[in-house]
Amino acid sequence: MQLLLERRAERSRRMTLLSPLIAVGLTLLTGAIIFALLGLNPLRALFVYFIEPLTSVWSIEQLIVKATPLALIGAGLAVSFRANVWNIGAEGQFTAGAILGGIVPVFFPQWQSPLALLLMLALGILGGMAWASIPAVLKNRFNANEILTSLMLVYVAQLILDWLVRGPWRDPQGYNFPKTVSFSGWQLLPQFSLGPIYINLGAILAVAAALALAFLMARTLKGFEIRVMGNSPRAGRFSGFSRSRTVWFCFLLAGGLAGLAGICEVMSTVGQLQPSISPGYGFTAIIVAFLGRLNPLGALVAALALAISYLGGEGAQVALGVSDKIARVFQGILLFYILACDTLILYRVKFLKSSSAATSPA
């Protein structure tokens, strides 16, 4: 038997939808094998990891909390990646947004007004945009590879945050713990009840962003421009679109959304600035974008799926005694399978009888 990939005339619509499902299936299978090799009962382990997080109201709230930053960042990255703008540094833009938005509670802890809330959100967006504009400038001006520049800026942002919370921004009443004052009142996101479930403003913003970007991509000239530039830059130039404008737009958009995710995270779950404010949402959102077919609405669904891997990781640590780093393992395996399965969209797999290949020439 010989395996052959045959090019399809067009992208397969069916495979566009099936490919992420196949990838999830293969991830579960691989996960079962890993659990079995660890000496665990694979079925029980998979249950703890993937099903249990969905069984209580509390864990569903947690799921939404974890999915919110993933969806916000993932939607922006989906648009960027469509344009072949490879912003890998959303984690840094997330951190920059949290830092800039954090100015309000750090310097004006007593200021309680809806304006404080709005200002913090706006500063969060601006912080993310500012951080993202660095790789954009380097790309347009010097043609520097944005994958490297945006990635390296992640560590710069994290170290600045680290320095701030250990130094100038440290809470004077904080017993020398590396953290700022706790945010309170209008400096935290308001919550809304959805039946028995409570969600915060961030989740609503994430859904709104996904809807808006889906509309942008499908129905507007800007979305068309982004898709053309990603598909064939030469045709884009012929169409009168500018590459540098696309790079700017994508970095500002994805950076702004990552910054918004960052400020929302510190205004809800974290409630203060501290050395670590994210379990790697900015990186996981890359997987979210791909699992969601580089479609902002798809990213919303994918964010929920990836949120399970975080919760499952925590659950598995408690119930099974495995390291919560297992979450990263699953995320990596999933990305690997998604990218592999995407081959099926433009190619079909064929099996050839091996006898033919054995016939010797001449």
Partner: protein, 515 residues
Amino acid sequence: MRAKRNYLLEALHMVKVFGKLHANDDITLRIKAGEIHALLGENGAGKSTLVKMIYGALQPTSGEFRWQGEDISIASPAFARKLGIAMVFQHFSLFEALTVAENIALAMPGRFNLAKLSEKVTTVSKEYGLPLEPKAVVADLSVGERQRIEIVRCLLQEPRLLIMDEPTAVLTPQEADQLFVVLSRLAKEGCAVLYISHRLEEVKRLCHTATILRQGRIVASVNPAKETAASLAKLMVGGDIHVVAHQRKHRAGTVRLQLKDLNLPADGPFVVELKNISLDVKAGEVIAIAGVAGNGQSELFDAISGERPLGRNDMICIDGEPCGLSSVNDRRNLGAAFVPEERLGHGAVPAFRLSENILLTRHSSDPSLVKSGLLQKNGATDVSDRVIKAFDVRKGKPDPEARALSGGNLQKFVVGRELDRIPGILVINQPTWGVDAGAAATIRQAIIDLARQGTAVLAISQDLDEIFEIANRIAVLSRGQLSETHPAGEISLEQIGLLMAGAHEVEEARHAAIA
């Protein structure tokens, strides 16, 4: 057994089904060593499918192959190459970022030494009259030059069966003649050649046998030397072919497109510099620019379309309006339309549906397509349907992706998209390369009809038959310099050949010396 040994390759009862379409329906083809065998047929007749199966790139639904009398199945292109089958594709499979030598190295089995290979490339390309610079980066080369790479790559493999998919579509008459010498020599050395072409005259000249396909079936197998071009064409299309009607005498109107001392320095090592190009194209006339591939054609196109910025605003005027510094869309809004050489990836986005490809060049000039930043999908579909109908674009689905169309049909669509606007100026680069006779006639007729309505048409082409068919005046581009224009009725093939060789450059140098 002995009798069968006469044939190098036999393809027996080949069937290939795509969905409901029988691309090949019981085709039997036999090729002898030392034979140049033509495969004729319109686009979509099944030629490409058949040769892709022979090359192992597609697997037949049913049917069998014999190689020197022995049953085989050709599982992959690698296996085909091992047999000694080499192929020059119509759409080139080259890596743009790599050099000529590196691209060739990729196709060679086993280990290689790049320096030695470069030497070999130079020798072989010189020997066969296909000049190539091994260190040139492919992205900087013209279509014609890229094809030379493909041909040289095949020759280096010392093939026993060479498949050529429309090799002369992008060559000048001189280059084509040179290629025929190469092919005849290969045939004498015992290599079989399977030759796909739309150019019936050259098939008559070159080929020993011609097999003619129509709608996936063999309709005839003839000795082309004993046929006329007209009788071959009739077999191909199953009827008489449309002859392009042209009024030689035209009444040229006002100047609509003016190039004034257009200069454009080279922005890469293998990009041609444009020097002092001046040209007036008047309403109602077609000016054709002839020339060998890689003499500045794509640079000139990019300069006129605005894809590469110019130094001064008055280097180009459209209807008297200087626009040398304007963007491509500003020029479109002045009434200009452009059709580039490369259909896939330049003139159209391969992964986009036809209706979306309408938007590509018309989003700023057509208010029915975009309203306050929002796409009007119905508007785009209407235009697309209109173009498809007017130009008889054949497709498998209502609104397919551009890459699913055959070359000829996509070209009709890309040309039709611009002509549908009834532009004041049309600039078209290689209007019909790699397009079948039927589609080419449609496109050329449409260009002539457009000019009759008062449009100024500038066509850049390497196909001299085409140029004489459509042009009122002819100029020649050579090493980035444009000759004077000559009325089509007053210039001979020989004169054009001299200009291609750079006769006018010398003239200019002499003028400069006198001044």
